[in-house]
């Protein structure tokens, strides 16, 4: 198999390239073989196409918003249309891109392979959750576009119970999407609990799996609350039962409590899988054992649990009691500790490593930069006094875009570039990939850094028009959005071009030690030819660069069979028995 390396006393393990028919892309053909597939990898790829289309739609809307804001008098959109466009942008990005992107697309593809399993625990549930997502997404987008929605993605009452736009249709769409999310989470929890092969203990799981596990717990526990809240909202609108609408003796702040009890943990559905991806990328592309494995694993679980306790920080100005407000502020700070730990661990992993500045590594470095800004500006918002000034301003807009876009999107792109050779068996143009990472980084910062200043100066969010003193910063922001858009287009072109004329990828193009690099690229239908040998997922000792074949291979010490010989004397205790 591998003629290049010849190490005495060792065997070289390299699965080589897949044959024509043994990989999951080619083992059966036709549209129906995809539509009715139960293979987690194909479902993952279908999700990938779905979330990419959603992101393109949400991104175009975002650019339309920025274009409109070039001109403070708002000649592109009327106020009414602007409100609908920002609602569409937010709703599509949150419900159709950020929440499903990593868990459903990359997670579906990777969880079983990294675990060393053949598939997820419930393949049919997996396919049904994909179709629920498709149905929910089509319904959701149709509802949003056809009849319009202008409540913002949060559906705050009593505006949402009184506006004449189609709140019921849109919330039903979100409700359906919630089920898809719950099914995926459930499937991963059962898969990780029951389908680990011999030797795959909890602390031998790659950190991406820890992150996915923590995410799944949130999906299963929090999403039902959103479902119930949206049903209550529909009941309120149609039957005026008086839960949220003060006109019928309801309390609008109750809705905010219910809503954020889901939606704050949902922020961690978005960011935890991103942490998992970054842990993998940093370790593999530094060719160094991840630093503080257990701290990172525990911090994922800690974030998942603490994430349930901090929803009140969305309501620091809503008029909760002062004691509640202060308690929520204190709890909010606790969640920043595990996030900080992760950043330090990644840096320590890079220290004295052997770093390759590949495209995934460029995205990972960009992630750490952006996420650090996102995290640190969260401190201004968690601190009660400064939040009173910054709440509902562009400072918040910038902060959550740094976390959700700079965090989730950049990690998603990094993960996509990292696992692309594995998924499709093709190498992409590295320089093209690095250029995309650079443009995304530059464009993103130019878009959102000015918004921190806008917010500090008092520019409220969700404004269709604004006072003239804010114009310069808005213009800078729009130019940044243009660069960001170009960077994303470059990434798309680089990836698509690789499918057409990319070089064939070896099993292990980066020199990773997790299990997915042990099968061919693309993986065979059942992932592994024979049960994989499970070891430390971050042990790079036996991974060597094969110069001649230009690929990484795994070196195993040769096990010499000891010749069976009769013992010269029977052991002493054996003699006693006789």
């Amino acid at each position: 198999m591998s003629a290049g390396l010849n190490i005495p006393g060792a065997t070289v393990r390299d699965p080589g390239f897949p044959t024509e028919r043994e990989n999951y892309l080619t083992n059966s053909k036709g549209v129906l073989s995809w539509m009715f597939t139960l293979d987690h990898k194909r479902i993952g790829v279908m999700y990938l196409i779905g979330v990419t289309l959603s992101f393109a739609l949400g991104g175009l809307l975002a650019f339309a918003l920025r274009w409109h804001l070039l001109d403070p008098d708002g000649t592109l959109f009327t106020n009414n249309i602007y409100n609908q466009v920002f609602t569409l942008h937010g709703a599509i990005m949150v419900f159709l891109f950020i929440i499903p992107s990593i868990p459903a697309a990359l997670g579906n593809f990777l969880v079983p392979i990294m675990l060393g399993a053949k598939d997820v625990a419930f393949p049919r549930l997996n396919l049904s959750s994909f179709y629920l997502w498709i149905f929910g997404a089509i319904f959701f987008v149709m509802a949003l576009c056809a009849s319009g929605l202008d409540t913002g993605w949060t559906f705050y009452t009593p505006y949402s119970t009184t506006t004449d736009t189609s709140v019921i249709m849109a919330t039903l769409g979100a409700f359906i999407l919630g089920f898809s999310s719950i099914f995926t989470g459930l499937n991963f929890i059962v898969t990780i609990n029951t389908m680990r092969p011999p030797g795959m203990t909890w602390f031998r799981m790659p950190l991406f799996l820890w992150a996915t596990y923590a995410t799944s717990i949130i999906q299963v526990l929090a999403t039902p609350v959103l479902g119930i809240t949206l049903l209550l909202l529909i009941a309120e609108r149609t039957m005026h039962i008086g839960i949220f609408d003060p006109e019928y003796n309801g309390d609008p702040v109750t809705y905010q409590h219910f809503f954020w009890f889901y939606s704050h943990p949902a922020v961690y559905i978005m960011i935890l899988p991103a942490f998992g991806i970054i842990s993998e990328i940093i370790s593999v592309h530094s060719h160094k054992h991840i630093f503080g494995y257990r701290f990172i694993a525990y911090s994922s679980i800690a974030i998942a649990l603490l994430g349930f306790l901090v929803w009140g920080h969305h309501m620091f100005t809503a008029g909760m009691s002062d004691m509640t407000t202060i308690i929520f502020s204190a709890l909010t700070f606790t969640v920043s500790v595990p996030s900080a730990i992760k950043v330090f661990n990644w840096l320590a992993t890079m220290y004295k490593g052997s770093i390759s500045l590949t495209t995934p590594m460029c995205y990972a470095i960009s992630f750490i930069f952006l996420f650090t800004i996102g995290g640190l500006t969260g401190l201004h918002l968690g601190t009660l006094a400064t939040d009173q000034h910054l709440h509902d301003t562009y400072f918040v807009v910038a902060h959550f875009h740094y976390v959700m876009v700079g965090g989730t999107l950049v990690a998603f792109l990094g993960g996509l570039f990292h696992w692309w050779p594995k998924m499709f068996g093709k190498l992409y143009n590295e320089n093209g990939g690095r250029i995309s990472a650079f443009l995304v980084f530059l464009g993103f910062n130019l878009t959102f850094l000015p918004q921190f200043i806008l917010g500090s100066r008092g520019m409220p969010r969700r404004y269709a028009t604004y006072d003239p003193e804010f114009a310069t910063l808005h213009t800078a922001s729009t130019h940044g959005a243009l660069i960001l858009g170009i960077g994303l287009l470059v990434a798309l072109v680089v990836l698509l071009m690789s499918l057409v004329r990319g070089k064939r990828a070896s099993a292990n193009p980066w020199g990773g030690a997790t299990l997915e690099w042990n099968c061919t690229s693309p993986p065979p239908f059942y992932n592994f030819e024979r049960p994989p040998v499970v070891g430390d997922p971050y042990d790079f000792h036996d991974i060597e660069w094969d110069e001649q074949n230009e690929r990484y291979v795994t070196i195993e010490p040769e096990r010499k069979m000891v010749p069976e010989t009769e013992p010269a004397e029977a052991p002493a205790h054996a003699a006693d028995k006789q």
Partner: protein, 362 residues
Amino acid sequence: MLPAAFSLLADYTEDYAWFPDSASTFSSEVDWLYKVITGIGFVFFVGVIIALFGFALKYRKAKGQKAESQVSHNTPLELAWSVIPSIFLVGMFIFGAKVYLDMRTVPDGSYEVGVQAFKWGWTMDYGRGTFHPELHLLVNEPTKLTMRSSDVIHSLYVPAFRAKKDVVPGRYNYMWFEPTLATEKVSDEDLAAAVKETEESGAEWDYDKYQFTPDGYRFYDLYCAEYCGENHSQMQTVVVVHKTREDLDAWIKKYSSRSDTESLESYGEKLYARRGCSGCHSIDGSPRVGPTWKDAFGSMRALTSGATVKVDENYLRESIIYPKEKIAAGYQPVMPSYKGQLSDDDIDSMIAYMKSLSANAE
């Protein structure tokens, strides 16, 4: 001295200013905290970035080279970088909560102003029947706002005071602050020129253009910060901080009621602008959220109930006080009630103004 220094750093009208004017007792505390948090954050950020890019360049190696070290953990180090940031976090929390509690503890004897928020405007209630969209205060006097909303959630936000509070329908929310910087008055010539220009164009007063009120005061912006629908971004008014109580009282007196010499129509026209009617009702025939006032009086109007009603004094009075009783066909029942907010003379003035706009009036 200190507020003045801050305002030098952050002149409102400059494009490069980081903060708006610092004009209340809270603003310097909030800015101080903001700067401390930013400073601590910046130190950590710089450390992270130096390590990030430093390591990325220093340990960059050719493919296949082994890492210098494979150290996988170091418990004392990991405990240190968990505990040290936590200490800073506790500090931020404590100072943040302390200033917040100050913001929530209203001093006795504060000057009180009632606030009514509605789609899409503000009415400030100065007591004794004086209502006006602008918020007028006295410098160095603690002021408490008691706020309610007629429809959806709004949020009263004065960036110069670093103060914000949601206005939630169905409950009273309150906030307080103490302005420390009075707003200037422009010269009489500038004011007269602007008033003349506005009168000639027939448009409403343009606060953004002149940067002073129709009475000649410079101002701070007051925004609605909670999304509330179509004209959310136009739900703005201004805050004027007077130097002396006499000046403030004179301003309130000016708007307290119709003077003996003023006609009903012209006072009605002022109320139209001042009480938020113009946000929803046009006077040029164009439809807005509510029906236009042009040629309304004396016309027949179809209602959503299917009935038809003549637009006369009785119908108008009822619609002002009980706006959800008879809804004009094609419109939503969104108008807030003005019961208790308009005196009989005010209502008479509005009706007289509407009559003057209508060709149908007898």
